[in-house]
């Protein structure tokens, strides 16, 4: 599953909800939390429920950011977005202010109950844990491995910085540790690592720099708060022509070696081993050039 760009869409804005699927993001996050005023939580929930049913999202992942487990809203959010009235419903729930495995367990249990009620398979709806507190970052690996529903860790730098007493900067030194920690925990748990959004809408230059930093660190994709950012972040998280060409070369050499019954082989004078093959296949996968069966790559 590609999660290069995960675009937030305010849950109480019909115009933006409707246009969501055409904006080019790999995933849409219908937001019931920060983007919705307290007095509109009920209305937004109904609107998102109906949008989930009506919108043709194609291959775009449908994520809903519910309200946190410390609010009176989250349980009704879960019920609404899994219910029959939501059609195919949410594919993924983004759980904000997730700090401990207990937070995940609470929501996972509620999801199971609602899945049963709606006649959906148990465990069908996946979870993304939004880590945005010091405790959440410290518990990253435990959160990532506490439920088979957890499909990724998602860094939320704004709330985290507040919790840390740190100052947010364009260059992000203050969250360097958190970024590293999230990537390492996610990779150890074999789930996705999603980088925090860049929040200055019109600063496209620094957006690109910020996205590149995340990609170099090993993130699989980035949250996006403006449709304007989708194009740039998609590009940053897509393999370049050079990378694709390199990966194609490795694959061809590997196929030759397999056909000839050779174990080890070299490309351009360098020995190719397991991790290099894996990296090449991952590039081809992101570029949409992978034949799953022929290339023998399983989704991890």
């Amino acid at each position: 599953m590609k999660r290069r760009t995960m675009l937030f869409v305010p849950g109480n804005n019909p115009g933006m909800l409707i246009s969501g699927p055409v904006l080019g993001a790999d995933a849409l996050i219908f937001d019931l939390e920060d983007a919705v005023a307290e007095a509109e939580k009920d209305a937004a929930r109904l609107l998102v429920r109906n949008a989930l049913k009506t919108l043709e999202c194609g291959a775009t992942e449908r994520v809903v950011r519910i309200n946190g487990v410390d609010t009176p809203h989250w349980r009704a959010d879960v019920a609404a977005i899994v219910a029959k009235e939501a059609g195919a419903g949410a594919g993924t729930v983004l759980l904000p202010k997730c700090s401990t495995p207990a937070d995940v367990a609470l929501v996972a249990e509620a999801l199971s109950a609602e899945e049963k009620r709606a006649g959906r398979a148990d465990g069908e709806v996946r979870l993304l844990a939004l880590l945005e507190s010091a405790l959440g970052i410290e518990n990253a690996f435990a959160v990532a491995t506490c439920s088979p529903r957890v499909s990724g860790l998602f860094l939320g730098a704004e709330d985290l910085s507040a919790d840390l007493g740190a100052q947010r900067t364009l260059t992000g030194e203050e969250i360097a540790y958190a970024r590293g920690r999230v990537v390492v925990a996610a990779k150890a748990a074999r789930v996705d690592a999603i980088d925090t959004p860049f929040t200055v809408v019109d600063d496209l230059e620094n957006l690109e720099r910020d996205a590149q930093l995340g990609r170099r660190m090993g993130f699989d994709g980035k949250a996006v708060i403006s449709p304007q950012h989708v194009r740039i972040v998609n590009r940053v998280y897509s393999p370049s022509d050079k990378e694709i060409a390199w990966a194609e070369k490795i694959r061809a050499a590997m196929q030759r070696a397999t056909a000839e019954g050779k174990g080890a082989f070299s490309v351009d004078g360098s020995m190719v081993d397991g991790p290099i093959v894996k990296r090449a296949l991952r590039i081809l996968q992101t570029a949409g050039r992978l034949n799953q069966e022929a290339d023998g790559l399983r989704e991890e």
């Binding site: 933006m16 246009s19 055409v22 904006l23 080019g24 009506t54 043709e56 449709p227 304007q228 194009r231």
Partner: protein
Amino acid sequence: MREKTAATLRQAMEAAHLEDGMTISFHHHLRNGDFVLDMVLREAEAMGLKGLRVAASSVFPCHGRLARAAERGVVAGLDTNYMSGPVAAAVARGAFAEPVRFRTHGGRPRAIDAGELHIDAAFIAAPAVDPLGNLSGVEGPSACGSLGYAMADAAHADTVIAVTDHFLDHSPERISIDHGQVDVVVKVDRIGDPAGIVSGTTKVTRDPVGLVIAEYAARAIEAAGLLRDGFCFQTGAGGASLAAASFVRERMREQGVRGRFLLGGITGYFVDMLEEGLFEDIYDVQCFDLAAVRSIRENAHHHEISASDYASVGRKRCYVDDLGAVLLGATEIDLDFNVNVHTDSNGVIIGGSGGHSDAAAGAEMAIIVAPLLRARLPIVVDRVRTVSTPGRTVDALVTEYGAAVNPARPELAQRLRDFGLPVFEIAELRRKALAMAGEPVRAPQGEREVAVVEYRDGTIIDRIMA
């Protein structure tokens, strides 16, 4: 010069020997800031004239007096390429004794050149007049740049009256209309309101859906193989068109393509592309902003052209014929790719062809850009309410969901697909829209003919009922 200056507008009009039923003409370079049309009509009413025909290249919301003059019988007929505001409403009410004749920006000068549209007196709003009586659009408090739409009037009207608010003591950088064509010059306080003449700044849209459409449109142009040296390009001045232009600009830069010319109504955005060296020339029939006015005054590669040279089929060749791509809007497009830019879904007149059908006919690739739904109304309809631009001249529709290509151009559809663009049958786009919005009830049509739509070659292609 001295002997042909009239002291007052009244004197100038008397010199033209105006009579009931005559045709008086106006250009629309002062756009929604024009004072001249209303000023002349007020005087005509005071002179007791009746049943005049107004041939104005376009009519804007500032022209409320024209609606009143129609209601009082001062004006009986209107011949125009575009209208919006109170006059459009008056047409629907049947205020004009005769059906309005809609033409195109190229069709109007063709009809004037051919003698089909005879003008008894042309009132030419002139931002500046030099000591010889030459008219210029690039100086004075009401500077508007090009005077391209007034040129056929100046060449053929029985009497040409220049109305100005600015006399020069020198020759201007650019002479738009030669003094040899001008019979009378009259100075008034103000010919226009600069705030309504040029929009000041034109900005690329921020609407995310508009940006998606724009990017698809730019990619469609690239997919069609048009982005090569010598490329000629035209778009409207709206934010979405500018966004598409910005994506085209990006691609041209990346690929080192140098285009031949930009055409039509010109904005600062086009001027930037000229100055950046992405295009050799601008051929300008109309300036939309101050940056365009400055450029046409100062840049020798920014040329003023007449509406005839721009788009008239009466010429052996006109500039639209060289266009590689043009981006155009629509209120509706039907399954045969016919486009309506005259009326909205309630049948109310909201515009007119302007240069729409001219550019579509000339361009190698005419692209209609529009969202799939506009306020719950599907853009694709079974049959357009008014045919402004015939479907045979339209190559593709681009929406935020992807493109539909005219079935007459299967090779173009294939190119777009090969380029990775989503391509649909136009009927499929309609079905998609209906699935989201439901089927709208068609607004009933009136029984009185209030306007006819004349195509650029002079044939009547539709009638508007109210």
